[in-house]
């Protein structure tokens, strides 16, 4: 990536020289005109980012530092309360569980997605017959609309008529109230989320594997390394950069998972599967008397959390680009 960019930059410089030589009557204009044209092409996206990203985010911050009610929302005269909403949210009895569940949901999901994704990537790397087709089929869970996956899992995990409990009972095990018991609700949404996230990890790690030169494996094989040693001594160390990227992106994207949890359990029963994302939605949109301001405060806490990992991701990628 970096090399292509540098290469094309130097070509562009040379081409600029040719153009300037050709239009010798206006020696300095092409460059400045180039800047104008460049920004003219960027103008739509810059305006777009300001109006449809920055402004909603600003409104969100504004919501969180004022005390909005349904009435003042329409009138626009909500009083300024500073960080009161944040204090309120931090002291809320839901904060502890939501924080814990967000952490558990994110870390457990990623641990399984990554491990299974890596194992599958290594397996599919063996290029057997049909491997391409099967790998494509593995993408299906990732492409399905989340509401489709979530509702399918809801019915599969149904206490009385679900196929999962039917399977457990067939093996003589007792059925589990997956979605309705406080002990299992979080596990259920994590299982569904792992299923959805495996393809993403598989595809990225697979592409990482393809960049490892096969000579290294041949050399290791000549030295008498077995499959297990080849994985831990060659594949794993060389895959570390790609793994870091995959994990960090996974973190950023898992932190904000909302649809699956909301559709399967609505964060319940009680707060048994509430995360920051569902809590924020719950406060802002799911009650008859919406609490927009605390909802925005929770949302902003979630942004901060996501951005921390986001910056680590960008930092890691920059470092790898330079290396």
């Amino acid at each position: 990536m970096t090399t292509t960019q540098t290469a094309s930059r130097s070509t562009a410089g040379r081409a600029g020289g040719t153009a300037r030589a050709a239009v010798s009557s206006v020696p300095r204009r092409p460059r400045r005109r180039g800047q104008w044209a460049a920004w003219a092409f960027l103008a739509p996206v810059v305006i777009y980012l300001v109006v449809f990203y920055a402004y909603p985010l600003y409104r969100n911050v504004e919501l969180s530092v004022r005390d909005y009610t349904v009435r003042s929302f329409v009138m626009g005269d909500a009083p300024f309360v500073g960080l009161d909403n944040y204090v309120k949210v931090l002291q809320d009895p839901t904060f502890g569980p939501a924080f814990w569940h967000t952490g558990v949901f994110t870390l457990v999901s990623i641990a399984f997605q990554f491990t299974i994704g890596l194992a599958l990537a290594v397996f599919f790397h063996h290029n057997f017959r049909l491997s391409g087709t099967l790998r494509a089929l593995f993408l299906v869970p990732w492409l399905l609309p989340l509401i489709v996956s979530a509702s399918t899992w809801s019915w599969m995990l149904n206490s009385d008529s679900g196929v999962v409990n039917a399977a457990l009972e067939a093996f003589g095990l007792p059925g589990i109230n997956w979605l309705t018991s406080p002990d299992w609700a979080l596990t259920s949404v994590i299982i569904a989320n792992i299923w959805i996230g495996i393809p993403f990890n598989l595809v990225i790690l697979y592409s990482g594997l393809q960049n490892i030169p096969s000579e290294l494996y041949e050399a290791a094989a000549i030295d008498g390394a077995n499959g297990w040693q080849r994985f831990w001594r060659v594949t794993f160390p060389l895959l570390r950069p790609v793994s870091a990227i995959t994990l960090l992106l996974g973190l950023v994207y898992t932190l904000k998972v909302f649809d699956i949890i909301w559709i399967m359990t609505r964060g319940g029963p009680g707060t048994a599967s509430t995360t920051f994302a569902t809590w924020s939605y719950q406060l802002g949109f799911a009650s008859t008397l919406p609490d927009f301001s605390p909802a925005a405060a929770v949302g902003n806490l979630l942004i901060i959390l996501a951005l921390v990992f986001g910056f680590v991701y960008i930092y890691t990628q920059r470092k790898q680009d330079i290396a």
Binding site: S8, A19, L49, P56, L134, W155, K256, A296, G299, L307
Partner: protein, 272 residues
């Protein structure tokens, strides 16, 4: 790889794929199950009493939702490509000052949780009185795809040889003309990739639809399914039939554009 292709690996691969895709199979199986057998325990593993009641219900009740989703998806594609393609051309080829900062902003933009964007949009739309409009939803949905679009387009356009553009310039083409007549046609593959993902994400969106358009006269299929789940707990064949129909774009995408999908995942490495 070395000519020796052990068949047992194919067998293992097929078994793993079947396990992975079991929920998809189960969705189809339930969609074909008659209502009377829905609560049967244990459930039938194969659709031996297949019926199309569920799909009949989809035809009767869900067509308007599907039409809205189609409209929203196409609108999002147009908006996303129109905004991200010129920007990417500029970032990749015209090298404006400050492009590093813009790239950084675009990366960050992808990481903002949808639920937070939804709350900001809700506040703005409420005050402007454009809640529950289809085009309001299209704008919100495009925010999922625009940063991704710029990323994919600029990665692709960086690879277009400069000679091609310089030739056009020497022939007297303006920057805009070069973009329209040279860069865009050459970038066809990346336009396909971006369009596919923009459509799929808009089609699948639930967060924006449920916050910004839950009271409108035109609602999306994701809300259609969500309402279905909320309203009746008996007719899961109809719910699953709707889910199957809602999965069609994903299936089409996979069959027609498999290589673009894989390219999209690895290049952008994003999904909401």
């Amino acid at each position: 790889m070395n000519g020796r292709r052990p068949w047992w690996k194919t067998v293992v691969g097929v078994v793993l794929t079947l396990i992975m895709l079991f929920p998809v199979y189960w969705m189809i199986n339930v969609s074909l199950t008659p209502t009377s057998l829905m609560r049967k325990s244990p459930p039938d593993l194969f659709p031996i009493h297949a019926t199309f009641e569920g799909y009949q219900a989809v035809l009767d009740q869900q067509l308007p939702y599907l039409a809205t989703s189609l409209l929203v998806g196409l609108g999002t594609v147009v908006l996303t490509v129109a905004i991200s393609a010129p920007a990417a051309y500029s970032l990749a080829k015209l090298r404006p000052r400050g492009r590093g900062a813009l790239n950084f902003v675009l990366l960050i933009a992808q990481m903002i949780p949808g639920i937070i964007m939804a709350m900001g949009f809700y506040a703005i739309y409420l005050n402007l009185g454009i809640l529950n409009t289809v085009w309001g939803l299209i704008i919100a949905d495009s925010t999922i795809a625009v940063p991704f679009g710029v990323l994919i387009f600029s990665a692709f356009m960086a690879g277009i040889p400069d000679e091609l553009m310089n030739a056009a310039k020497i022939d007297g083409a303006s920057t805009w003309r070069t973009f329209r007549s040279i860069v865009l046609p050459v970038s066809r593959n990346s336009i396909v990739t971006v369009s596919l993902f923009a459509f799929l994400w808009a089609w699948s969106d639930f967060v924006f639809a449920s916050t910004l358009n839950s009271g409108g006269s035109m609602q999306t299929i994701t809300l259609g399914i969500y309402r279905y789940i909320g309203n009746n707990n008996q007719e899961w064949n109809a719910i699953m039939a709707t889910a199957v129909v809602a999965s069609i774009p994903a299936a089409v995408l996979l069959v027609l554009a498999q290589r673009y999908v894989a390219a999209g995942v690895t290049a952008g490495a994003v999904k909401d």
